[in-house]
């Protein structure tokens, strides 16, 4: 079992720096998901932990060892690749056992471990097939099996589900989760799908452009995003950002949407804003609903009337876009009834579930 620590980790390809001083501590047995847009350096970080990519500066510790100088096989890791990387010329059995064979494990032990892993993943019937005789989902399972067989301390997954169709992906998601519950090894899992991250992770690491934007549990990231990027990346549909500034209205400060209405500021933030400050007002669709079609609200609620721009019925609920000044905000209508475009209705906004971000720094004012 092993914890992982990345200290000041930097990666440069020639002149270009693709990772800027990454610091991260992963606890033993933790399931950590790296998430972020394409090209942000998730795979590069993972491959550096695996030992497939050299370290430009900084250190990587697995357990109590500094591993940057070690070959992949000496790091106690195994990895599952996006394209599975099964050896085409070997049967499933050979694919599963290859790592053990290379490390000089006795044949009887290999057979036993391979059979065990095959049973765990339901691959018994397929052991004598070649990879090209398998379906995508089966290949994925073999790739997982190959990682499991070697019983490593750390599993590294690089977008292992992105080649599967939606249904299979959901299924494999829970299977991986279950596997983790069983073996309790440390897992780093890379994806650019925030739903995958939310559903599987103990902790999520949100990356952008070679930096870590925020680290936290799924609910921490959802409830208190540190900045505009995390707020719009986590949660679906994404949080709407209303452009505007803080104005004085009588005693209390208010938010003036650009070319739009005046909104009250969430109570917890009233002391933290300055008059004249340019901010984004962050609204999630769940906390903004037509009156009579919202969730029960515990805290302060602001009512206003808005004109419907666009309607998207989803069955169990309906998404309504309305314009607040220059910005578009999505509203979720629970127990939906018929809504017409251009109709003007009363909406209610749960203030405690709203966020303010400084427009210059894009940082949350909650911090």
């Amino acid at each position: 079992m092993a914890s992982i620590a990345l200290n000041n980790l930097v990666k440069e390809f020639g002149e270009t720096r693709v990772l800027h001083s990454i610091d991260l501590d992963i606890k033993d047995g933790e399931f950590v998901v790296f998430v972020g847009p394409s090209g942000c350096g998730k795979s590069t970080t993972l491959r550096m932990v695996a030992g497939l990519e050299s370290v430009s500066s900084g250190e990587i510790r697995i357990g109590d060892r500094e591993v940057s100088g070690l070959a992949p096989k000496d790091r106690g890791i195994s990895m599952v690749f996006q394209d599975y990387a099964l050896y085409p010329h070997m049967t499933v059995r050979k694919n599963l056992g290859f790592g053990l064979k290379v490390s000089g494990t006795p044949a009887a032990e290999i057979t036993q471990k391979v059979d065990e892993a095959a049973k765990m993943l339901g691959l018994e019937q397929l052991l004598d097939r070649k990879p090209k005789q398998l379906s995508g989902g089966q290949r994925q399972r073999v790739a997982m099996g190959r990682a499991i067989v070697r019983s490593p301390e750390v599993y590294l997954f690089d977008e292992p589900l992105s080649n599967l169709d939606a249904k299979l992906r959901t299924q494999m998601r829970s299977e991986i989760k279950r596997l983790h519950k069983k073996v309790r090894n440390t897992i780093i899992y890379v994806t650019h799908d925030q739903i995958e991250a939310m559903t599987m992770a103990d902790r999520i690491v949100v990356m952008r452009g070679g930096h870590i934007e925020q680290v936290g549990t799924p609910s921490e990231l959802f409830k208190s995003p540190a900045n505009v990027f995390v707020a719009t990346f986590i949660g679906s549909p994404p949080m709407a950002m209303v452009d505007g500034e803080i104005v004085k209205d009588g005693a209390s400060p208010m938010f003036q949407a650009a070319n739009g209405p005046l909104l009250p500021i969430p109570a917890r933030l009233r002391d933290k804003v300055k008059v004249g400050q340019k901010v984004f007002y962050g609204i999630r669709s769940d906390s903004f609903s037509p009156v009579g079609h919202s969730l029960p609200r515990a805290g302060e609620v602001h009512q206003m009337s808005c004109t419907v721009d666009h309607v998207e019925p989803l069955g169990a609920e309906t998404l309504i876009s309305v314009a607040l000044g220059n910005s578009t905000v999505l509203s979720k209508m629970f127990n939906p009834t018929e809504v017409d475009v251009d109709e003007t209705r009363a909406f209610e906004l749960e203030l405690d579930a709203c966020y303010l971000f400084d427009k210059g720094t894009e940082q949350s004012l909650d911090l």
Partner: protein
């Protein structure tokens, strides 16, 4: 409307004519080999007289060391091909997947050796072989054959490996392979196509080559060199030359027929990815 589509006639004719042009010399050689030399002196197509005889087939085995030459040819072409098949992928692996200083320059130098004519090498090589006592040893031709093939063979295999799935190599490293094991257990088994190509090209080239064996070998001569001896100074021996020619060409033909399936196999056996 209810006419069945009829393909036009002219492609058939064209193909027929072209095939005939290809096949004619072959027919000529066979005809020459099965008739007494006297009958074919005016041209093998001249059939005023036609006597079927296997005299030349018998005589050439008796008069010349055809078996030895055949065996020499097989050894020379076989070992040269084996050398290229094994060495070219190693070079190609290094150029495709390893990083070492001077990689680009070395590769350019290697590939440019392709344009150096063999003739330049003859004299220095001859001196070298004489000094180390390798004259009349088949390795005096096998070594330069393998060395000369590296230029195009490494290039050919490298171009194939550049598209080799990188993740397979990563997976091998994760599974604990060093470069040698990765090359041997993962890359080679999946690079049969370019290896077969290298093998066939190298076999054809070395089987038919005349110059180096003629210069470096005395007794251990391969078939093409023997051919030049059958055609004596005073007797043309056309019938026996024809027989030896047939024997010389039949082996590469068989080899080609056997290995061509590897060309067709192509990239379909490449990766585990769905595709």
């Amino acid at each position: 409307m209810n006419d069945i589509y009829k393909p036009p006639l002219w492609p058939m004719l064209l193909i027929g004519v072209v095939s005939l042009i290809w096949v004619l010399p072959l027919i000529g050689i066979i005809m020459t080999s099965i008739r007494p030399e006297g009958e074919t002196l005016k041209g093998w197509w001249n059939i005023e007289e036609f006597t079927l005889t296997l005299e030349a087939w018998r005589e050439v085995w008796v008069n010349y060391p055809l078996w030895d030459a055949l065996w020499n040819s097989i050894k020379i072409a076989g070992l040269s091909s084996l050398g290229s098949i094994l060495l070219a992928p190693m070079g190609a692996y290094a150029f495709a997947f390893l990083n070492f200083p001077g990689k680009k320059v070395t590769f350019l130098l290697l590939v440019n050796a392709f344009v150096i004519p063999n003739q330049i090498l003859i004299i220095p090589l001859f001196t070298l072989w004489r000094n180390v006592g390798l004259i009349d040893n088949i390795f005096s031709v096998i070594i330069p054959f393998v060395a000369l093939s590296m230029a195009w063979a490494v290039f050919l295999v490298r171009n194939y490996l550049v598209d080799f799935p990188r993740s397979l190599i990563d997976a091998a490293h994760i599974d604990g392979c060093g470069h040698v094991r990765t090359f041997w257990s993962v890359v080679l088994p999946n690079a049969l196509t370019p290896m077969a190509a290298v093998g066939i090209l190298q076999f054809m080239w070395t089987w038919n080559s005349l110059m180096l064996p003629m210069l470096f070998l005395r007794e251990n001569i391969p078939l093409p060199v023997l051919l030049t001896k059958i055609k004596g100074t005073y007797e043309p021996n056309w019938d026996q030359v024809a027989v030896a020619t047939i024997i010389t060409s039949v082996i590469p033909l068989l080899i080609f027929l056997y290995f061509q399936k590897y060309f067709a196999a192509g990239a379909s056996n490449q990766s585990g990815q769905k595709g």
